[in-house]
Structures are given as C-alpha cells and as structure tokens.
Amino acid sequence: MVTSAPPIVEVAELHVRYGRCAALKGITLDVRRNEILGIIGPAQSGKTTLLKTINRTIDDVPGAVVTGTVKVEGKDVRQVEDVFALRRKIGMVAPLPVGLPLSIFDNVAFAPRMAGVRNRRELAERVERCLRQAALWDEVKDRLDSLGTKLSGGQQQRLTIARALSHDPEILCLDEFSIAIDPVTTMRIEDVLKELRTRITIILVTNLIQQARRLAGRTAFLLNGELVELGRTEVIFSDNPANRKTYEYVNGIFG
C-alpha cells in the first residue's frame, strides 16, 4: 500500500482561527497519492476546517485566519494564482447532500461548463461517466431532465459525488458523507470509493469510526484541533496505538 512517491497534499503547522476561537492548532500531515486517508475525531475537532483550507474555500468564511502551509502537488495553495483551477483539482463532498436547483444533467455538467467545456457530446459523455462512477446512472438515466433537488437524500448524495468527480479531480474529499443517508446507500457509496481508490486520492472525513476502518489505508485522529495520531489503519484500530486517547476514542470510551 505505502508508496514512496511524493505526497500529493502536505500540511505543515496549520493554524486556523475563527475570531478568538482556534479551530486548528498546528496540524502537520501528508496525504499520499492514490490512498484513502481516513480522518476521524469527535465533533468540533477541526476536520471540516482542514478540508476547507485544502481547497481554499476557507477564504469565503468571514473572520477565518490561516497560518502555516498547505501544499497540493508541491505548490502552496495560498500562492496559487488561479484558485478556481485549484478547486477543480479537488472534488469536495459536503456532509449534507446538495443538489443544485438544476436538472440532474446540468448538476453534473455544471463544473465542466464553468471551466469552459461547451461541446455537447463531450459533456454528455462526461455526465454519463460520472453518474456511473457514482452508481447513480441506472436510477436516473431516463430522467436526466428532472430537478436534482427532487431526488431522494441518498440519490442526491451520489449526485453530489458525481458532481465532485465531474471536473476530473485528483483528490476527492468527503466530509461525513453518510450523515444524512441510510446504511444501504452508505454501503453502495463505500463500494464506489473502493473502486475509485485505484485512480484518485481520497480524503475521507468520517464520524463513523468503522467506515475509516473498512476503507482507509491510513487514518488520522483529530481532537480539539490537534492531530493526536496518524498511522496505518491497522495500527490505529489495534489494541496499542501510539496514543492512549486514540485507543479510548476508537473503542468508544469517550467522544
């Protein structure tokens, strides 16, 4: 599993404050190419904030102050000239499914269109491929014109994943994607992720500890804005991880 290629995402000494409240207090970690990195931790531990700094949507949060560095493919994200190109490199799936108030087709075609793809055939191919990858194609192929917002929660979440894949990202970030959907759909999406893992890097923030265990190659444990431990998933979930707190959290003793 572990490769020697340079990491695709490097985070060093990352601090984020919202006003007076510190959300991240000096995180240092790396994400390797084509791995699934699981990030676990209780609520308010800074997981979502971490994802937001990677694609720089943190810029849109009023009052957020960022120090430290985040590099994607060796380039500091804060020195990136075209932040929109950076964001297209990263697919982001939010906790609650968000179908845009557009047709299913337009939902998936949105990102490529905004990036300047106009060719109808190319768009159609891409929409089909992404919907297939997200295991949604068979359910919606006959009603691509209907509104994305009218799909069920689970379908909307897969639509969100299809949209996140639509701009050919190299990194896919999922933020507690199973929070609003049923276990069966969750398992289907997990299957999708297993398949994707061979081609792209996945950062999986999850509140379901077992989900990280099932999918992740390595797992990071965040607590109160600090990185408690980052290691191979087997170690994290073993009886003797490096940090006592990890053991306690993983085994449900607190959190």
Binding site: F110, M114, A164
Partner: protein, 300 residues
C-alpha cells in the same frame, strides 16, 4: 371529591378572563377593519364618481380645450415613458447593489453604512428628491427639464424598492448552493449568474413591479424635473415624446386638473384618479400574483 364534573368548569375568574379575551379580539379586529375599510370606500367612491366618463376613448384622446375636455392620452403616454425609462435605469443598479450587499460584502462597518444609506434613500422625502433632481440633472448635468432628468430622479428615488426586494430574495437562496458551486471551482460571478440569480427571480421581479407602481404614482419628483401642465403631442403616435422633451404625466395631470384648472367637468378628475389608481393597484396585484406563483414552483 365526588363532584368530578365541576373540576374543569369555568370559575368566575376564568369566565372573566374569557370575556376579556373576546373583548381584546374584537378591539383589535375593529382597529384592523378601520384600516381596511377606507381602501374599499375610496376605490368605490372614485369609481362611482368617474363612471360616466370612463371609456376607451377617454384613454386614447389627448386633453382638449384647455384640458377641460378630451381624454388622458398624452399624460398616460408620458407616464409610460417615465416609468419605463426609470425602470431601465434603476433595475440593473438596484439588483447589482443587492448582489453586492448579499454576495460580496462582509458584515462590517462598511456594509452597515451601505445598508444605512439604502434605508435613508428610502426615507428621503419625495420633494427633496425633486430638489436633488433639479439641482443635479436639470441644472448641473444640463439635461434641462426633460423626460431623461425626471426618469433619473424617479430611478434614484425607487432604487431602495428594488434593492430591498432583491436582497430578500438573494438571502433566501441557501448558502449550501453557493458552497457547492465554489467547491467545484465556479467563480463568484459564475455562481451568482447561474445559481443565485435564477433562483431569486421571483423576488427581483416583485421588486421591479413594485418599482413600476411607485414610479407611476409619484408626482413631486417629476414636477420640477420634466413634467409639465400641458403639452400637445401627435395623436395616436407611440413615439410622440423624445428623451429630452418635457412630458405630461398622469399623476401630475390629476394635480393640475383638480387644483389649477377651473370649471372642469365634474367626472374628469375622478376619471384620471381612477385610471391612475387602478393602474397602480393592478400592478401591485400582479406583483402579488408573481410572488405566489413563483413561490409555488420553487425548486427546492
């Protein structure tokens, strides 16, 4: 303890309370109906008085014989000009200002000042707008008393209507949509253009329609900036006014006929009032219909 039935019966105190409840209800109902009643009375009275004169001819002929005869074509056309032109000026500025407040500005002192300015703009008396229009557009900009100067004055005066209504509509679009768009690399403007604005259409449209109603009814701001008591125009011609012409306007015409011109036929001013009032009320009704209709087909 055998007397189970008595337990939940009203005591004198509760009965008194219930009584006061009813009285409160009736008092407030009365107050409300005293507000609603005048509307019906006024409309009924005006229509009753104007009835003999109302006809298509009344709308389509210009005033004649020192405005004591004929219809209201030229003021009607003038009002249309003023409304359309002020709409064209105010809509883009108002919508974009609301976009700024909602999508670009953060909640800081500057935004607060902009908000305060919008509120004050709405509160400035119409006659002060008239003075401004006279000073800025007629004299300083050298537009003279003209349709253009009057429309500019009206546009600035009605700007807050569009800003307020657009603002409300933009705020109703969930933040999650914007975040989803930013996440896939859409720029701010792309997000606004493709997601936020299309889904705020009902609010923007409502604002625009209300602006029309407001602009059509105003008198003071156009009195000294472009509207005149009387102007002869070519009959039956839609483009009878030029941008730098002065014009007649319905609201101004009502003022003129009812205060400045002696010996007019009794029904004539009522006819003008009814046309003006029904135009404005119809436009408002349209705004309400649009709002209800578009709300019913909300996309999320």
């Amino acid at each position: 303890m055998n007397d189970h039935h008595a337990v939940f019966q009203a005591t004198p105190l509760t009965r008194r309370k219930q009584c006061s409840e009813v009285i409160a209800m009736v008092v407030f109902l009365l107050m409300t109906s005293l507000i609603v009643l005048p509307l019906l009375l006024i409309v009924g009275y005006l229509v009753y008085q104007a009835w003999p004169i109302l006809s298509l001819d009344f709308l389509l002929t210009s005033p004649k014989h020192g405005m004591r005869a004929g219809g209201i074509w030229s003021p009607l056309l003038g009002t249309v000009y003023l409304v359309v032109l002020s709409l064209v000026i105010a809509t883009p500025i108002g919508v974009l200002a609301a976009v700024f407040l909602n999508e670009y500005a953060r909640d800081n002192w500057f935004t607060r000042i902009v908000n305060l300015a919008v509120i004050n703009l709405a509160g400035v008396p119409s006659i002060v707008h008239a003075l401004f229009g006279l000073g800025a557009f007629v004299l300083f900009a050298g537009l003279g008393k003209s349709i253009l100067a009057a429309s500019l004055t009206l546009a600035i005066m009605t700007l807050p209507v569009i800003i307020a209504s657009t603002n409300e509509a933009l705020a109703a679009v969930p933040m999650a949509f914007r975040e989803a768009c930013w996440n896939v690399g859409a720029t701010r403007w792309q997000t606004i253009r493709h997601i936020v604005l299309p889904n705020s259409m009902s609010g923007i449209l409502t604002g625009v329609i209300l602006q029309v109603s407001r602009a059509a009814g105003e008198t003071a701001p156009i009195m000294f900036t472009g509207a005149v008591f009387f102007k002869a125009i070519r009959e039956g011609h839609l483009f009878a006014y030029g941008l730098f012409d002065q014009c007649m306007a319905l609201s101004m015409h009502l003022f003129t006929i009812s205060t400045q011109v002696p010996d007019v036929p009794k029904a004539l001013p009522y006819g003008i009032a009814v046309v003006l009032l029904s135009t404005v009320l119809a436009v408002n009704a349209l705004a309400i219909i649009v709002r209800v209709y578009l709300r019913s087909r909300k996309k999320w």
